[in-house]
């Protein structure tokens, strides 16, 4: 009952109810899986250029693939399938989701709207530990005799069902882990929405919320609406795997007539397409805010940006069919999906222009978070534009399931979302840990990530255009791919540089937690409420709940004398 009086290590750091501690837990979980998923990508790149060759010592191949059926230290075709499956699953659900939604959602929502904690602190804690349990189930699948899931991150039947699918129970572990992760996400979503609706400080109207909070709010709404749908899909998939039902099995091997594998694809993408917006909306919000902070200008068209983000949120639920043009859907339906998908480019372009408007004639400060925020504009621009080719039926039928699609979604998800997350980490690190990250290492991390990333993902699109299928194990087997094998090797080299850059980031991150320069209360001169709390942030955040007088981006206001910013909780005396 009197928690503050007797806090042990367990109640303070492990089973804490404090949103800031839970945010750190999510952040560490996310960074662990980010490195793990990245390592899987390195193994894949090696296997693509050195198919069926011994792994070098620095990729730990002797350790991991000791008992490989194709020879010690060699990645065989089955192991390769597991690599890309787990790379996708981990990066989407265990790296990006915990970092952007788990960590920054938890940390920023109460601080930015000016309240003491989440609406349901216990639910918040349970949400993290459910995610932790999901992680254990996911990692435990590696210990199974036939290895982990290998049906792709989409787990389409029949690959994911026992009838004619991947042998072993890896797929069942995968399904269970994802169901648990989804449950964790739903708890978070309910908590975030309630907190934002009910706990905003006096004067903090919806159109005074920072755009980061807008992004997290819309993400939570999408989570609450669409994660339950995939939960239903995962339940029937899990029953197919363990209970002998055949909801998703058709054809000659089916013993129960009437199953339909396409049903799963529909259910998966009804969730799956909103999922990409679930991931990117917080990143859009972060970028919109950071561009304003580091241009020392109010965000151009703030209200329009928020409204456009809402429009994208609404449209994202109506476009799932564009993932399924090649499944033989009715052309009329296909055209409807194509139309709705192309419609998304309108709100996206509007807030993209707003970003440019924010930068226009601003006093740009190229701090590390700004570098990442600006690079998001480049990678999201490219990713968004190439999305049009995937959305258009005529070009998609050619490009479907090629590296073009892989390049496109890595530009939007891996590049835009991860760079948004990096911008957020560099920006809020002083507030989360009370110390600054090393700027020089940050700049090196930026350039060694940005350049190789473009070299890898742009060339993926080129290869896809040349017809390279996304899940080929050995590209050298095919005559038509011979001319681009050199490109493949070049990409592998670039990918290794990209991987090493993330090691640099990790070193900087952990070094700065312990040895970084002690940060001041508001190192970036930012106007939002989280920078007004004292350091270290006490339990309950604000000594007095602040009253809000301004919008989130009051920079270079001519009525403010002596400095170029004013906090949301300060009155402008004019």
């Amino acid at each position: 009952m009197h928690r503050q009086n007797k806090q042990t290590f367990w109640s303070k750091s492990i089973f804490s109810l404090d949103h800031k501690v839970i945010a750190k837990q999510f952040l560490f979980l996310g960074i662990f899986f980010l490195l793990f998923g990245g390592y899987l990508a390195m193994l894949m790149r090696w296997s693509l250029t050195h198919t069926m060759e011994q792994l070098p010592w620095w990729l730990l191949g002797d350790l991991l693939y000791q008992e490989s059926p194709v020879g010690s230290g060699i990645i065989g075709p089955d192991a390769y399938n597991q690599l890309f499956t787990m790379h996708g699953t981990i990066m989407i659900f265990w790296a990006i989701t915990p970092i952007l939604i788990g960590a920054f959602g938890n940390f920023l929502i109460p601080l930015q709207i000016g309240t003491g904690d989440m609406a349901f602190p216990k639910l918040n804690m349970i949400s993290f530990w459910t995610m932790f349990l999901a992680s254990i189930v996911l990692l435990a699948s590696y210990l199974l005799p036939q290895g982990t899931a290998a049906g792709g991150w989409t787990a389409y039947p029949p690959l994911s069902t026992p009838v004619g699918g991947i042998p072993g129970s890896g797929q069942a572990y995968w399904t269970l882990a994802l169901t648990l992760a989804g449950t964790s996400t739903l708890m978070g979503a309910i908590n975030y929405i309630t907190t934002i609706v009910r706990f905003r400080a006096p004067g903090m109207s919806y159109f005074r919320m920072p755009l980061t909070t807008w992004g997290l709010f819309l993400t939570s709404i999408l989570n609450a609406l669409f994660v339950p749908i995939i939960a239903a899909g995962l339940i029937i998939l899990l029953l197919d795997q363990v209970a002998g039902t055949q909801f998703l099995v058709a054809g000659q091997k089916a013993t129960i007539p009437g199953g339909d594998p396409l049903l799963y694809q529909h259910v998966f993408w009804i969730f799956g397409h909103p999922e990409v917006y679930i991931l990117i909306l917080p990143a859009w919000g972060v970028v919109s805010d950071l561009l304003s902070v580091f241009s020392r200008k109010p965000a151009y068209g703030y209200k329009m940006t928020a409204i456009c983000m809402c429009t994208v949120t609404a449209l994202s639920g109506l476009v799932w069919g564009h993932h399924m043009y090649t499944t033989g859907m009715s052309p009329l339906l296909g055209k409807a999906f194509m139309f709705l998908t192309l419609l998304i480019s309108i709100p996206s372009s509007i807030f993209f222009l707003n970003w440019l408007g924010t930068l226009w004639k601003g006093a740009l400060k190229f701090e590390v978070p700004m570098l990442f925020a600006m690079s998001v504009m480049w990678v999201f621009g490219l990713g968004g534009l190439t999305g049009l080719y995937n959305a258009t039926i005529t070009s998609d039928i050619y490009l479907h399931d090629t590296y073009f699609v892989v390049g496109h979604f890595h530009y939007t998800m891996a590049a835009s979302v991860m760079f948004g997350a990096f911008a957020a980490i560099y920006f809020w690190f002083p507030k989360i840990f009370g110390r600054e990250m090393n700027k020089k290492m940050g700049v090196v991390h930026f350039w060694t990530s940005f350049i190789p990333l473009n070299l890898v993902f742009f060339n993926m699109m080129v290869m896809g255009y040349a017809g390279h299928h996304r899940r080929i194990f050995d590209p050298s087997e095919f005559e038509f791919l011979k001319p681009i094998l050199g490109l493949n090797e070049f990409m592998t080299l670039a990918a290794f540089v990209l991987g090493i850059a993330q090691v640099l980031f990790t070193i900087n991150f952990f070094y700065s937690i312990f040895r970084g320069k002690i940060a001041t209360k508001n190192p970036w001169n930012a106007a939002t409420l989280e920078w007004t709390v004292s350091e270290p942030i006490p339990h309950g955040n604000f000594a007095i709940i602040p009253e809000v007088f301004n919008g989130p981006h009051e920079y270079s206001n001519p009525n403010v004398k002596g400095r170029d910013w004013i906090s949301q909780s300060e009155k402008i005396n004019s």
């Binding site: 009952m1 009197h2 928690r3 503050q4 109810l17 000016g114 309240t115 003491g116 904690d117 609406a119 349901f120 602190p121 216990k122 639910l123 739903l186 979503a189 309910i190 908590n191 929405i193 309630t194 609706v197 009910r198 706990f199 905003r200 400080a201 006096p202 004067g203 609450a224 609406l225 669409f226 994660v227 339950p228 749908i229 995939i230 939960a231 239903a232 899909g233 339940i235 029937i236 029953l239 209970a243 002998g244 039902t245 055949q246 909801f247 129960i256 007539p257 009437g258 199953g259 339909d260 049903l263 529909h266 259910v267 006490p538 339990h539 309950g540 709940i545």
Partner: protein
């Protein structure tokens, strides 16, 4: 709230009298409703593409389940009575009606288990046909909700025994009621779709 005494809720309450818990429960109901929608629509899609879908009345004991449905609707009624008792400050009425609701929930689960037992012994198992799979998934998913509801009612009943609720403090009873009515409402849909049409 007792565990976070440093937190104060802002004064410009945008949602009137609705408490956090109530808003949270409404969100949960939306979330849960959508997962039921997912299952029911998936079942409908399978049925639409199937050329042999059995007539439910030939396989299932409809009068028994109709009684079960009636029972569940009655527990909704007793739940309303429990809330209205405590709103009048009648603690004894709250405990009595919560107990009736709890017993109704347990009886519902018992009848469902009995139904499953006889169906499985009659050869109607989860993997015997697509209809059977759909039937078991949907009804079992709902049964798990009733089971959670029974545990939930027990917790609130236990708190009521401790004298936690009074004419000024009945919010948690109302939130429990929201969940229980939702479970009832979904059952009416499940009963209609799985058993009747």
């Amino acid at each position: 709230m007792n565990q976070q005494n440093t937190i104060s809720i802002p004064t410009n309450d945008p949602f009137g009298k609705a408490t956090n818990g109530k808003l949270g429960m409404w969100l949960l109901i939306i979330v849960d409703g959508l997962s039921f929608a997912g299952l029911l629509i998936a079942g409908a899609a399978l049925r639409a593409s199937s050329d042999s879908w059995p007539i439910a009345g030939e396989l299932l004991n409809i009068p028994l389940t109709a009684f079960n449905t009636f029972l569940l609707i009655c527990t909704s009624f007793t739940m309303v009575m429990a809330l209205s008792s405590i709103q009048r400050g009648d603690e004894k009425g709250l405990k009595t009606y919560l107990l009736y609701t709890l017993l109704g929930g347990i009886l519902f689960l018992g009848i469902q288990a009995w139904e499953y037992y006889h169906l499985i012994h009659g050869g109607f198992t989860i993997s015997s046909s697509m209809y059977a799979s759909t039937f078991y998934v949907t009804t079992c998913f709902h049964g798990l909700h009733v089971f959670s509801g029974v545990i939930y009612i027990s917790c609130i009943l236990w708190q009521a025994m401790q004298g936690k609720y009074s004419a000024d403090n009945w919010d948690h009873v109302e939130i429990l009621g929201l969940f229980w009515h939702f479970v009832d409402l979904v059952w009416i849909l499940v009963f209609t779709i799985i058993y009747l049409i």
